[in-house]
C-alpha cells in the first residue's frame, strides 16, 4: 500500500501559521513583551536607585565633614581674633616707645611668634565634588563662607607683613640709637606710615571676623538641618580623628569645656580593644588615648587654675597618668608632671622626683629650657639648686634659662 495515499493532505502553510498563532498565543507573547519591558525598566530603576543612594550617602558624609571643618575653623577664628588684638597691642606699645623716643629693647620677634596660629582648614572644602553636593543653595552658602575666609586670611597676612616691617623699622631705630646714630628720618617716615596702615586695617579685620562668625553660626545650623532631613545625626558620622581635630581646635581657642566634651566623645569611640595588644588598632588607639588625655589634662588644669572646682586634683592626675602611659609625646608628658606638682599639688618632693626622672631620660633638656622659669617658687630651694648644679652638663647654664620671663601661658 502506498503510504502517501493514507496521509491527510497538508493544510496550506498560512492556514497552519494562523492556527499556530491563535489568540491565546498572541496574548501570551504580548504578556512576555510587557514583562520584558517592565523587567528591564525595573532593573534600570533599581540600578539608578542604588546609584542615587550611593551619591546620597557620599553627600551626607560630605555635609557632616564640612560641618566639622567649619566648626574647627570657628575655633581657629577665635584664636586668630586674639592674634589681631595682639597685633594692635604690639603696634601701640612700639608707638609709645617711638613717641617718647625711649628706644628700649622690645621683644617683638617673640611676641609675634606667640601670636602665630594655625591656618584655616580647607581640606574638606577642596574635596567637595560640586555635582554631588545635592543641595545647591547650601553649596552656594558654603562657597560664600570660604570666600570670606580666604579674603580674611589675605587681609590678615598683609597686616602681619606690615607689622613685621613695623617692628623691623623700630629695631633699626633701636640699633642706631645704641650706636649713637641719630639720623632716623627714614625710619620715622616708615614707622609713621606703617602705624597708620596697621591701625586702619585692624578694624577691617575685626569687622570681617564678626561677619564670618555670624555666617558660620548660621551655616552650621543649616548643615545640621540638612543632616536631619536625611535622618542622620552628626555624631553618628564623626570618627575618632574628627573628635581629635575638634578637641585640638577647641583647646587652641581656649574653649576648655568644648575640649573636654569632644575628648570624652572621642574616647568613647575607642573600642575596648585598646587594652588588647593583639588588636590591629592597638598602637593607633594607644596614641589617640594619649592625645585625648593630654587635651583633658590641659583643659582641666586650666579650669582648675581659673578657680573652677568641677574637676578634682585626682581626676587631673588620672588624665596625666593615662597620657604618660600611652607613650605618646613622652617628653611632654614628663614635663606636665612638673606643672601638675607645681601648680596643682604644690608638692616640692614629687616635683623634684619628676625633674630627676626627666633629666635622666632627656639630658639635653630641650623642652625644659623654655619652661623652667615658670616654677619660680621652687627654684630657690637648696635641694633643687644642688641637684641642677650637679646633674646638668657643662654649658647647660640653667640660671640663664630662668632669666626668661615668667609666663604661665607656657604650660
Amino acid at each position: 500500500m502506498d503510504n502517501t495515499e493514507n496521509q491527510k493532505p497538508k493544510a496550506p502553510f498560512l492556514t497552519r501559521l494562523f492556527k499556530y498563532f491563535n489568540s491565546l498565543l498572541v496574548i501570551d507573547k504580548s504578556v512576555d513583551f510587557i514583562l520584558i519591558f517592565v523587567g528591564l525598566v525595573a532593573a534600570l530603576g533599581v540600578e539608578s536607585l542604588q546609584e542615587s543612594k550611593e551619591i546620597e550617602s557620599r553627600y551626607i558624609d560630605m555635609v557632616a565633614r564640612i560641618h566639622d571643618e567649619i566648626q574647627t575653623n570657628k575655633f581657629l577664628l577665635e584664636d586668630t581674633n586674639r592674634s589681631t588684638a595682639g597685633y594692635f597691642d604690639i603696634t601701640r606699645e612700639i608707638n609709645q616707645l617711638v613717641a617718647t623716643a625711649s628706644f628700649e629693647k622690645y621683644d617683638g620677634v617673640n611676641k609675634m611668634i606667640e601670636l602665630e596660629n594655625s591656618e584655616f582648614q580647607i581640606k574638606v572644602y577642596q574635596s567637595i565634588i560640586a555635582d554631588e553636593f545635592l543641595n545647591k543653595t547650601l553649596y552656594s552658602e558654603v562657597l560664600h563662607l570660604y570666600d570670606l575666609l580666604s579674603r580674611y586670611t589675605a587681609e590678615k597676612d598683609a597686616t602681619k607683613i606690615n607689622l613685621t616691617e613695623y617692628y623691623y623699622t623700630y629695631y633699626r631705630m633701636f640699633v642706631k640709637n645704641q650706636f649713637q646714630n641719630n639720623y632716623l628720618i627714614e625710619e620715622y617716615i616708615d614707622i609713621n606710615y606703617l602705624y597708620n596702615l596697621i591701625t586702619k586695617s585692624i578694624p577691617i579685620l575685626q569687622n570681617n571676623s564678626l561677619d564670618i562668625e555670624m555666617t558660620t553660626e548660621r551655616l552650621l545650623k543649616s548643615l545640621e538641618n540638612e543632616l536631619e532631613r536625611y535622618n542622620t545625626k552628626l555624631i553618628e558620622k564623626r570618627g575618632i580623628a574628627d573628635y581629635l581635630n575638634l578637641s585640638n581646635a577647641a583647646l587652641s581657642a581656649k574653649k576648655y569645656n568644648a575640649t573636654i566634651s569632644y575628648s570624652n566623645q572621642g574616647l568613647k569611640l575607642i573600642n575596648s580593644s585598646e587594652n588588647d595588644s593583639f588588636s590591629d588598632d592597638y598602637l593607633e588607639n594607644k596614641t589617640y588615648v594619649g592625645r585625648f588625655n593630654a587635651h583633658l589634662y590641659k583643659s582641666k588644669i586650666y579650669l582648675y587654675l581659673d578657680g573652677d572646682s568641677l574637676y578634682p586634683k585626682n581626676e587631673i592626675k588620672k588624665h596625666l597618668d593615662l597620657f604618660y602611659d600611652s607613650g605618646y609625646s613622652n617628653e611632654n608628658s614628663q614635663l606636665y608632671y612638673l606643672d601638675y606638682y607645681y601648680y596643682v599639688d604644690k608638692d616640692f618632693n614629687e616635683f623634684l622626683i619628676s625633674l630627676k626622672k626627666y633629666i635622666e631620660k632627656y639630658p639635653d633638656c630641650n623642652m625644659l629650657k623654655p619652661r623652667i622659669h615658670s616654677y619660680p617658687d621652687f627654684l630657690s630651694k637648696p635641694e633643687l639648686i644642688e641637684f641642677l648644679d650637679g646633674e646638668l652638663r657643662e654649658g647647660q647654664i640653667w640660671r640663664d634659662w630662668v632669666k626668661l620671663l615668667y609666663n604661665k601661658e607656657n604650660l
Binding site: F13, R16, L17, Y20, F21, L25, K29, D32, F33, I34, I36, F37, V38, G39, L40, V41, L44, G45, S48, A130, D131, F133, K136, T137, Y139, S140, L143, H144, D147, R151, N182, Y183, I185, E186, Y188, I189, N192, Y193, N196, L197, K200, S201, I204, L210, M214, R218, K221, S222, E224, N225
Partner: protein, 401 residues
C-alpha cells in the same frame, strides 16, 4: 526515529517563526525600555541644565552689579591720583588721608561660585558654555588689572607720604646726611610721578575689561533667557529665593537700594511657599527681611519719600522671628525707637539684647544713642553686666577715652 529526524520535526517552520517573533519582541522590549530610561535621564539632566542656566544668569547679573563697583573704584583711584598731584604742585606740604581713602575704594571680588559648580558635560549647549567661559576669563583679567592698579595707587600715596614727611623732618638731618636726604627725595619724587602716571595709564585695560564684560554679559543674559525659552520656561519660574537673596544682597552692597528692595520682595513672595518650620526658611526669611529693613532705612536717609520709617516694623518683626542675626535685628529696633523718641520700647529692646550671649555689635552702636543710654533705667541694666559703667562709658562717649 533518529535524533536528526526528531530534531528536524521539532524545529518545524512554525517553531522557527515562533522563536523569531520572540527574538523580535525581546529586541523591541529592550529597546523600548532603554529608550524610556534614557528619556527619563534626559528629562533629569534637562532639569539640572535649566537650574544651572538660572544660577549662572543670577551670577552674571550679580557680577554686573559688582562691575559698577569696579568702574566707580577705578574712577575714584584716578581722582585720588589727581588730588595728590594737585597737592604735589602745591609743594607736598599738606597731609592727605591716603590710607583711609584707599581702604574706602576696595572692591568686592566678582562671584564665580556658580561657574565653578557648572559641569561641562551636563551643560547641553556647548556654544553657550564656551561663551560663558570667555566672560569669566574676562572677569579674571579685570581682577588682575585692578590688583596692579590698586598696588600702584598705594605706592603713589606712599611716595607722597615720604616726600611730605621728609620735608617735615629735613631740618633734623645732620649736614653730613644732606646728600642722602636729597637722593632719597629724588627717588620719592620719581616714584610719586612714576606710579601716579602708571595708574592713569593702567586704568585703560580694566576699563576696557569692564566695558567688554558688560557687553558680553548682557548678550549672555539674553542668550540664557532664550535658551530657557527653548524649554518653555521663564527665568522667574526657575529663580529661587536664594537667587533673589544674593541679587538683593549685592545690590544693597552696591548702594542700589531700590533694586535691592525689588529683589528682596520677590524673594519673600517665593519664600511663602516654603515650610515655615524649616531652618532654611528662617535663614532666608531673616536675611531677606533684613535687606528690606536696610534698603528702606537707606532710602529714607537719601531723602526718598516713597517709604516712611515705620514701614520697616513688619519686616523687622519677620527678621526677629527668624532668629537670624538677632543682635543686629535688636540694634535696628533700638535705632528705630531712639529716632522715634520712644524710650519705653528702647528699654524693652535693651533688656532683650542683654538676654543674648554677645553684645559685641551693640557696643559699637551705643555712642549713637547717648541721650537714652544715660537714663537711670538703662544704667541699671548696664550695672548688672560683667563690664563696669566706666567701661561702658568708653563706648558711649568714645572720644572721652
Amino acid at each position: 526515529m533518529s535524533l536528526i529526524s526528531r530534531t528536524k520535526n521539532f524545529f518545524s517552520s512554525l517553531l522557527i517563526i515562533d522563536k523569531s517573533v520572540d527574538l523580535l519582541l525581546i529586541f523591541i522590549g529592550l529597546f523600548a525600555a532603554l529608550q524610556f530610561d534614557s528619556y527619563l535621564k534626559l528629562k533629569q539632566s534637562e532639569e539640572l541644565y535649566k537650574n544651572s542656566l538660572t544660577k549662572i544668569h543670577t551670577e552674571i547679573s550679580v557680577n554686573k552689579i559688582l562691575l559698577k563697583d569696579y568702574a566707580n573704584s577705578i574712577e575714584r583711584s584716578t581722582a585720588i591720583i589727581w588730588e595728590l598731584d594737585s597737592l604735589g604742585k602745591l609743594g607736598f606740604k599738606d597731609t592727605y588721608s591716603g590710607i583711609l581713602n584707599i581702604n574706602d575704594i576696595k572692591v568686592t571680588q566678582l562671584n564665580d561660585r556658580s561657574f565653578k559648580a557648572l559641569s561641562e558635560n551636563n551643560f547641553l549647549n556647548k556654544n553657550l558654555y564656551s561663551d560663558i567661559k570667555k566672560l569669566y576669563n574676562n572677569y579674571d583679567k579685570l581682577e588682575q588689572g585692578w590688583d596692579t592698579l590698586s598696588n600702584n595707587l598705594q605706592k603713589n600715596y606712599k611716595a607722597y607720604f615720604d616726600i611730605y614727611a621728609t620735608q617735615q623732618l629735613v631740618s633734623y638731618a645732620p649736614d653730613d646726611k644732606a646728600q642722602e636726604v636729597v637722593n632719597n627725595f629724588v627717588v620719592d619724587i620719581a616714584n610719586f610721578y612714576g606710579f601716579g602716571s602708571s595708574v592713569l595709564k593702567q586704568d585703560y585695560w580694566p576699563n576696557l575689561h569692564i566695558q567688554s564684560a558688560n557687553t558680553v554679559g548682557d548678550d549672555l543674559l539674553d542668550k540664557i533667557e532664550a535658551e530657557l525659552g527653548l524649554y518653555k520656561v521663564s527665568l522667574n519660574e526657575y529663580r529661587s529665593y536664594d537667587d533673589y537673596y544674593w541679587l538683593s544682597y549685592y545690590s544693597l552692597q552696591n548702594e542700589d537700594y531700590k533694586t535691592s528692595l525689588e529683589y528682596a520682595f520677590q524673594g519673600i513672595s517665593i519664600l511663602d511657599k516654603v515650610n515655615k518650620d524649616d531652618y532654611e526658611f528662617k535663614s532666608f526669611s531673616g536675611r531677606l527681611n533684613r535687606n528690606v529693613v536696610f534698603g528702606i532705612n537707606n532710602l529714607i536717609e537719601n531723602k526718598d519719600t516713597k517709604y516712611k520709617r515705620n514701614e520697616i516694623l513688619p519686616f523687622l518683626k519677620e527678621w526677629y522671628d527668624s532668629g537670624i542675626y538677632r543682635e543686629s535685628c535688636i540694634i535696628e529696633y533700638l535705632d528705630f525707637y531712639y529716632n522715634d523718641n520712644d524710650f519705653d520700647n528702647f528699654l524693652k529692646y535693651t533688656r532683650l539684647i542683654f538676654e543674648l550671649d554677645s553684645q559685641r555689635i551693640y557696643e559699637r552702636y551705643v555712642a549713637g544713642w547717648q541721650d537714652f543710654m544715660t537714663k537711670d533705667a538703662i544704667i541699671s541694666i548696664l550695672e548688672k553686666t560683667d563690664r563696669s559703667i566706666e567701661a561702658w562709658n568708653s563706648y558711649i562717649y568714645p572720644k572721652s577715652i
